[in-house]
Symmetry: C2
Amino acid sequence: MPKTLDFYFDFSSPYAYLASTQIDALATDLGRQVQWFPILLGPMFQAMGSAPLVDIPLKGAYARHDFSRTALLFGIDYREPDEFPIATVAAARAAWFLRSQDMALAGEFSRKVLQAYFADQQDIRDTAVLASIAESVGADSQAMLQAMQTDAIKGMLKEAVSGAMERGVFGSPFIFIDNEGFWGFDRLPHIRMWAAANPA
Amino acid sequence: MPKTLDFYFDFSSPYAYLASTQIDALATDLGRQVQWFPILLGPMFQAMGSAPLVDIPLKGAYARHDFSRTALLFGIDYREPDEFPIATVAAARAAWFLRSQDMALAGEFSRKVLQAYFADQQDIRDTAVLASIAESVGADSQAMLQAMQTDAIKGMLKEAVSGAMERGVFGSPFIFIDNEGFWGFDRLPHIRMWAAANPA
């Protein structure tokens, strides 16, 4: 079994969306498999006494500009959602259900949900939107919608969030290669450099 | 007169130190001149309700690790100062005095002060340390120490901080190319990409 690249992300994170368009290519180059970890930033912001980036004075306006500028510089399709940030618990539970079945499927679904929100102005809180994306990747959307209501799937997400915090995750995207953690889209080149200096 | 690359920084900012080792090469490649803007982050953190990076739960430990890891990946000499962060008002006033005489001199001094603090364990609050660095770059250290006590130089730094905030600066390093602002060492490659897409 190949080693992993563990990709922690919140579905409401623009930099996670940007990174989601490049993480597979990075993993392939490094001979690793992406493990998708949908999480929620809310509990982490509480622990830090922080807030969503765009709600912070001075930094918020810069961040909005940097999202679209970074997308432009890297040739990634991006349009700021009309409503942002949003609650992403439904999307995260959906992804955890798919992950419990098949990691690659969960990855494909996650990439498409991020794109739906950050490029295509879709409301990813809407379970009909999530179901439609699930079907587009060949998943059983009815089973998914039912599973999202179960304690098993809700518990899986909760455990993922607390596990992430134990591992030191406090933002999105947060990527581990072996046990080395990197925060942010801007750390993808650092991961490449780190891997070159620390062969598996 | 060539166009500028405006480099805002606090002398207690590790990422500003890392950037200071590369900003001249970047400016040369882009056919620009670095304008050095020593500022103080304190008033900006107050405006944002924020705190020094390393004082933030979860994020602080990551940041300390990322400072040295980033330095290592980019081949930059770095050793975390025993005391960090520190007050940098003396260093900033010294740099503003030199800047009022000669921009290149202020740049050389600023780079050396950052290196003294982040690589050589020197206490850059100490005016003797600042005077010694001033002499090493060929400046009149006595004139500098006297000027640092004057309202003229104190006012210069104050105006620089408020001018920076008006321009949208909230962190360090913060770099403007034309009127496009970029925050962080990790944005140096973005500046390069932006300049390629927006020729002067």
